[in-house]
Symmetry: D2
Subunit: 339 residues, 4 copies
Amino acid sequence: MIIIFNSHATKDNVQELIADIHAKGLKTNLSEGDNTTIVGVIGDTTKLDIDNLKSADYIADVKRVSEPYKKANRKMHPENSYIKVTDKVTIGEGIFNVIAGPCSVETEEQIIEVAQDVKKSGATLLRGGAFKPRTSPYSFQGLAGEGLKLLLEAKKATGLPIVTEIMNLVHLDMFNDVDVIQVGARNMQNFDLLKELGKCNKPILLKRGLANTIEEWLMSAEYIMAGGNENIILCERGIRTFETATRNTLDIAAVPMLKHKTHLPVIIDPSHATGISWMVPQLAKTAVAAGADGIMVEVHNDPPKAWCDGAQSLNPKQFDDLMTDLKRRVEFEGKKFYI
Amino acid sequence: MIIIFNSHATKDNVQELIADIHAKGLKTNLSEGDNTTIVGVIGDTTKLDIDNLKSADYIADVKRVSEPYKKANRKMHPENSYIKVTDKVTIGEGIFNVIAGPCSVETEEQIIEVAQDVKKSGATLLRGGAFKPRTSPYSFQGLAGEGLKLLLEAKKATGLPIVTEIMNLVHLDMFNDVDVIQVGARNMQNFDLLKELGKCNKPILLKRGLANTIEEWLMSAEYIMAGGNENIILCERGIRTFETATRNTLDIAAVPMLKHKTHLPVIIDPSHATGISWMVPQLAKTAVAAGADGIMVEVHNDPPKAWCDGAQSLNPKQFDDLMTDLKRRVEFEGKKFYI
Amino acid sequence: MIIIFNSHATKDNVQELIADIHAKGLKTNLSEGDNTTIVGVIGDTTKLDIDNLKSADYIADVKRVSEPYKKANRKMHPENSYIKVTDKVTIGEGIFNVIAGPCSVETEEQIIEVAQDVKKSGATLLRGGAFKPRTSPYSFQGLAGEGLKLLLEAKKATGLPIVTEIMNLVHLDMFNDVDVIQVGARNMQNFDLLKELGKCNKPILLKRGLANTIEEWLMSAEYIMAGGNENIILCERGIRTFETATRNTLDIAAVPMLKHKTHLPVIIDPSHATGISWMVPQLAKTAVAAGADGIMVEVHNDPPKAWCDGAQSLNPKQFDDLMTDLKRRVEFEGKKFYI
Amino acid sequence: MIIIFNSHATKDNVQELIADIHAKGLKTNLSEGDNTTIVGVIGDTTKLDIDNLKSADYIADVKRVSEPYKKANRKMHPENSYIKVTDKVTIGEGIFNVIAGPCSVETEEQIIEVAQDVKKSGATLLRGGAFKPRTSPYSFQGLAGEGLKLLLEAKKATGLPIVTEIMNLVHLDMFNDVDVIQVGARNMQNFDLLKELGKCNKPILLKRGLANTIEEWLMSAEYIMAGGNENIILCERGIRTFETATRNTLDIAAVPMLKHKTHLPVIIDPSHATGISWMVPQLAKTAVAAGADGIMVEVHNDPPKAWCDGAQSLNPKQFDDLMTDLKRRVEFEGKKFYI
């Protein structure tokens, strides 16, 4: 349920109503925008008398929110959310951020070299996997803690904030210097992981599951937000369908659909979406046109020799060419590459 | 199998080889581009001795084509195909065409009014359904022959060439003045219909089936081409997936994938892809960025009163706004709205 | 809407009400069962006053039928439908029929030999394709009219009624001696074909489309029934999903779901469902346990040499072993192999 | 790679070869069946000289195993695996086990009552959720540790071994008295969880993910087995498809496919597969006919009042009727309800 206040409502009006609602055992979500103040109510809203509320002169309207996600719902929070990663990097509507880096951290030389290359080309964040989700137990599982250290070396060397995936809650301590924690597609409904990440306040990059609906995805965001952490960036990485020509099927319509339903930023991962490097640039362009707030691209200094996902990685030259093109496109959309 | 000729090969070299191949019971496909002459061979290519062919001094190379589609294959026909609809309207790479019009032809007033509106906004072809594929036998089935007549009235009134769907071969005679014949998604594998359309030489707009792979789609194009009609425009209209937030899931990656595999033009139908009118403009923009050769959009003068698909139709004002925006985008891509 | 009459209602009560309803421009569907008489109403039922109807003393109840399919709806027709194929062969609840035969009719010797083998093993109908739906225009398209003739030869030789697929309305005349006309998966939404088949009264075997929902499937049956032909047998042949280990995914739950929603008989095609011959017997067994009214199985005298679908065909020995096992199972379910 | 020994090979022959292989840094999997001894080799098998191996007189054959799963592969382990749960309960080919119980443990009274009911009807294991995977953070999350205690009370009261889901590794200690640990569909690719479960030796019930292929499923089993725990029972619970009439689509063909590819037992969960209680009995019957080694069914004493999944739960009477029918069916298949 959302309660929309009149423009003349005072801060006291708002606070008193919130206190009343809490007294009834419900939770509230306060959204103070430029134009409107909205109190979202979460819980058994049958306890509230809609007519009674509407009759208050400082209340403009009261509406039931039928979607199961509340904190993530744009109705509760009409203003776009901006996720501050560092003083220099913010992710959200109007700014186009590019996260780039290799599938896995392999060696110190590799990760620093790629970091320097992508930074030069205009990437604003560095990605790299230390803990890798591999379908086979016999595949390279990532350098784990050592991988995180190397990522931090690359961060020191370039100043790029880092995004990396967490696979196991027991590793959470090791992520203190990680700027954005990624929840992989296969963990989108690892509810205990989401609850735990709800307790920290680091930005979370939440990838959509292989075959999860937009509603389920927003409910996973809701898990994290319900825990207290509202810093979520959604990442569309392709969904599983019958088509086998590409690794997944990029659901480009998810971008405008999410912009409509939620206030959280949305980016696209064209590398996992297709699985084919030559297609990555074209899909990155469609991401800009679709209104996405950024992309996450796999870049490796020598893709044929990559320890994983080489087939979908761009080399530094290809990435640089793409960035040159994306800059014109981002400008064309009236957005900025940097805040 | 494709046989690539050396630049110094003469027309006689080419013709003699073609004759030899025919004598063995195989078919050929001659592709004379600016730079290269290629003869594609279709049939039991085990009858040909690759080494023998390669040894001829006028032959540069011989490669087996593993894809089951041949005539539709870019390897056989490296140059982009241009489908000439009228003296003024050609569909293909570098030109962005917009097909617009209502889901169904309803009345003379409606179709002429919409035709005038969309023409004014820059559409280059008019669509309208006379024979409607409805899931229910109790739904409006279209005005049939009467609908075709009204479409032709609109064509006379505006000069816009028309695109309309054929549901039944027995109606083919009625389509003489139709400029582009549409094969609907549900008829993409109506093989007898495809064979018959292969015998005429009108441009065919071939929609992808609800759950057909890109390969099956190109094989359906192959059916028409094998019949002798190479004038095909492919139309991506969304595929069926588990996601129910949109009517279908637009497979935007199909555009670059098709540009890679085939020489045939590709357009997008953002109306059927989403089923939601407010999403149509955003997806039309991604179509431009994806490299599509055009879009087909449903436009109705009064969507809430449309006899079908009102929920996904734009009104003339919305269409006009979209066209204003698309023009800048098409220019940005270095393409033209008109040949 | 369904109007349920009281047990004391007279034939006059029923006929008068039907006449009134027709006068309002609506259609009716009379279902006189052992226990209840139901009149189903199709059309704009807002024209009828439910309260008024309910107040009549000979009417027990009036319910709106929300499903878009009416004639196919079990609410309109609570009794199971029995499709009479010949004096000896009827398809429906309580009887388990086995349709068997090769994917394609190849030669007179092949079709007669297979027909004799499957008959000996207990098949009640013979299948064989004369017009084949092939994804590729270069694949064997079937013997067409010649194939139909050979099928009829096999029918004469064995007495087995025949089931064969129609691909094109222009061939309908050639199907006069065909006992059951099959509509293939790729033609399930070829609405013009369905309308035409609604005008004849031959039994129609309606295969489910590759990615069509149960509701769409029943609406396709509704097309045929609305035309006047109520003799439909539904055939589940696997649906398209992300899993590639089998050719399709057999939707076994479709059987009980359909038995719940419709009065039409339901059979399973385990050959196309899996595409793998060794899996066919196991799935045929699940078909019996699921409550299906029969199966359709591909049998070829020499599968490795079959002109199509050899990989999923059983040889006569395998078919005979399967039939021996199925007989016990059908008995176990309290059903019969023959009427 | 699998190395198949001749019938006259000695234990020394086998052990020496295994030692040689280990010395090269590879792992082995010894399978000593009634008829054949097979050593499976896992790792970079290019280090082994196939011809050299084949030349040894005590080796019958050497084959490369192309599937990425090895330990789970029937080629490596031709004999069926039997998972011993307790002295009285073993799960595997030839025995049909029924796991039954409520979706969630709610109260002591509820869980004990249901346990007693299902035991009386012939269930061999009790299920009940203490940690519930809920799509919404606002839904009942389960009684957690308290729920496990109540389950153990029910185990004491009835002697039924218990199956319950683990959501988080930090809870593993609490599972000491749990007989079978369940990995839910949404955690099928929670690789860190699988690795950890590979270190204990409790039987693991591994549910198939919503949209995971059979190969990915076996690779998840491989994760657990590679860790050292080979006690895995696979559970098919329906996959996600375009069809919305049922909650999921039961992939019944997965049963024979898995029996072909792996030696691990396979059961079916008809409750989650359909989401509709009246369909559960029919699908349980098809499970028996498909060759499954058991089913897992949700049973609640008062489904309309269940705290979750009431719509798909059977009440005790319905469960009892189903069990009566299943017993005849299991006997018919020549299997046993008890070891």
